[in-house]
């Protein structure tokens, strides 16, 4: 068990997008205080507990796993964005009120 009240995670910005890092940080912002900094080519994530107790050692691995998942979510969203948009547009294509002129 860590005896530190904060955890510092350095993230190589060449490997991970800022958006994925931000999303990962956001997920932990309910339970912890999370600070995101840019130091040279790295991001620094500093995680502190809200009640001043020590941060568990397992959190480093959990955060890394979360970051991998957020990167995957970004990729899937990017690859499938046009499909989703077309699907929704087609689903509601008949929703324009008949009393209004269609704008084609």
């Amino acid at each position: 068990m860590s005896i530190d009240s904060s955890l510092l995670i350095e993230i190589d910005s060449a490997l991970w997008t800022l958006s994925a890092v931000q999303r990962a940080c956001h997920r932990y912002s309910g339970e912890y205080l999370v600070e995101l900094l840019k130091k040279g080519r790295n991001y620094e994530v500093i995680i502190r507990t809200k009640v001043g107790i020590s941060v568990p050692d397992s959190l480093r691995g959990e955060f890394s796993a979360t970051l991998i998942d957020e990167e995957l979510r970004e990729r899937v969203t990017s690859e499938t964005r046009e499909i989703r948009e077309r699907l929704i547009a087609q689903a509601f294509s008949g929703a324009i009120p008949r009393t209004r002129p269609r704008i084609d």
């Binding site: 309910g30 499938t80 499909i83 929704i88 929703a95």
Partner: protein
């Protein structure tokens, strides 16, 4: 009609279709898509699938294809089928406000510790705290302006039966106009049922009015939560239930329980009380952050405690069903229908875009119109943020009010951080009023949201039961989906049945 043999042995190169995923506590991964289909994968299969290396020889490939998680490169994307499914799940959007709440009075004879409104005593001068007929008529015109053909009109209070003449007027007028307006109306009265008499019951029977009441559990618990000075609330409510059933039928009264600190340790006793009185559905409703309940929230239970209570209660309910007594938990049933069927349930508290303002309007006794019942409760606490306007305003004015614009900013879960990536999104919803009340803005902060924590706990629990529960458990949950009693004897052979 049939695909060529090469379809089943050819190239497996594919593209991903939109999906979201969640790693469950069990270690498996739940995938869902925008049309509400879902599939479980283990970690290796998921990784292979996401990297577009899943071979045709893997059975998961066929499941993923049939449930629209992937589309082969040499096949067209089934936009027509998917768009119909998506439109079906969002069908409630085309109805506009389909639930209209008439708060006919603020008068009440109870002093419930968790009351969500500032009540007025039963004998207080009616004219001050009852809805006027003029206001009711304006509200009726808004009901008729809504696009929906099937509309629910719900009467609330205070204790609505104390203003029965207003209820009678609204029901009679809407019933007369039903054919001309080509609308079908369902009428519901939420009441403690202490003020029923033969005349009222005859009227309710004539118009097929449904009743909803609160039953918090055994008499000791119910009376503690709902003090009635000098009288026995539990006894009078049950007397009202029996009277209603004699005239309106066995299933005429629905009941729900509000979970308080005293309830948390007694899920089995609460459910047993419902069973003893012949109910076949129970709604385990947590405290909401409005009115007197907001003041007691600090000393009441945590989300973790409620979630543990809920799982224990539903586990007990499932065993009760297996033993031969059909009873569902109403909220679980709603979620299960969303998971297991392609249809929209449209429940105003559990949809995206949110139901507040878009699916429900509440007409307060004083002539103001609110985006939801919770909005008007907020107003009773001094915050009129979600007042759409006056009942005398036009339908269009109310629909385009600043309050509606504010709600819209937090109404679409697909655009809210964390919600937009959540695997439970197709079955969940946005509640901008709740976010505003608990967290100060209509979008809120999901990682610290009690609503989100509760939703995810319940959905994790239900999905795990569906994935890994035994055949009898799955049969019970399936019966809640269809609202039919489970054929438990068929379960002994591990055979699923939906009738």
């Amino acid at each position: 009609m049939f695909s060529e043999p090469t379809h089943f042995t050819g190239s497996s190169s594919y593209r991903l279709l939109p999906f979201r995923f969640r790693r469950s506590p069990s270690g498996n991964i739940l995938l869902t898509n925008d049309v509400g289909e879902h599939i479980w994968l283990d970690n290796n299969t998921f990784s292979t699938f996401a990297n577009k290396r899943l071979p045709l020889s893997d059975s998961a490939f066929w499941d993923l294809e049939s449930r629209h998680f992937l589309s082969r490169d040499d096949e067209p994307i089934p936009y027509d089928a998917l768009s119909i499914q998506y439109r079906t799940r969002k069908a409630f959007l085309f109805d506009g406000p389909a639930l209209h709440i008439f708060v006919v009075t603020l008068r009440c004879n109870h002093s419930c510790k968790y009351c969500q409104v500032s009540r007025r005593v039963e004998d207080e001068q009616a004219s001050s705290f009852d809805m006027t007929i003029e206001h009711a008529n304006h509200a009726i015109s808004h009901v008729l302006s809504a696009p929906a053909q099937a509309i629910t009109v719900e009467f609330q209070g205070g204790e609505p039966l104390l203003a029965f003449p207003v209820i009678k007027h609204v029901i009679e007028r809407l019933s007369r106009l039903a054919q001309e307006s080509r609308k079908r109306f369902k009428f519901v009265i939420t009441s403690v049922l202490h003020h029923l008499d033969d005349e009222k019951l005859d009227f309710l029977k004539q118009h097929e009015v449904e009743l909803s009441t609160s039953l918090d559990g055994p008499a000791v618990l119910h009376n503690r939560n709902r003090p009635l000075p000098g009288r026995d609330s539990y006894k009078r409510t049950m007397a009202g239930v029996e009277a209603a059933r004699r005239v309106l039928g066995q299933n005429a009264v629905a009941a729900l329980t509000t979970i308080t600190k005293e309830s948390i340790e007694a899920p089995e006793q609460i459910i047993d009380t419902y069973r003893e009185h012949g109910f076949h559905s129970i709604f385990l409703r947590p405290l909401s952050p409005y009115g007197f309940a907001a003041k007691s929230l600090r000393s009441d239970y945590t989300p973790v405690q409620f979630n543990a209570f809920y799982r224990r209660a539903v586990d007990y309910l499932i065993q009760l069903n297996i033993a031969g007594y059909p009873m569902d938990e109403a909220y679980a049933a709603l979620l299960l229908r969303s998971i297991e069927t392609p249809f929209a349930h449209g429940h105003v508290d559990l949809r995206s875009p949110a139901g507040a303002g878009f699916g429900v309007w509440a007409y307060n006794y004083n002539g103001k119109v609110y985006a939801s019942d919770e909005s008007r409760m907020l107003a009773e606490m001094g915050d009129d943020t979600f007042c759409l306007g006056q009942v005398t305003d036009s339908y269009e004015t109310l629909l385009h009010s600043p309050a509606m614009e504010l709600i819209a900013a937090g109404a679409v879960a697909e655009s809210i951080p964390v919600c937009s990536d959540c695997a439970f999104l197709p079955y969940c919803g946005s509640d901008p009023i709740d976010s505003y009340r608990r967290q100060g803005d209509v979008i809120g902060h999901r990682p610290s949201s009690a609503f989100c924590e509760r939703q995810m706990s319940i959905l994790d629990y239900l999905f795990e039961k569906l994935r890994a529960g035994d055949a009898q458990t799955r049969a019970v949950l399936n019966s809640w989906t269809t609202r039919r009693a489970p054929k438990i004897e068929a379960r002994a052979h591990g055979i699923a049945s939906s009738t």
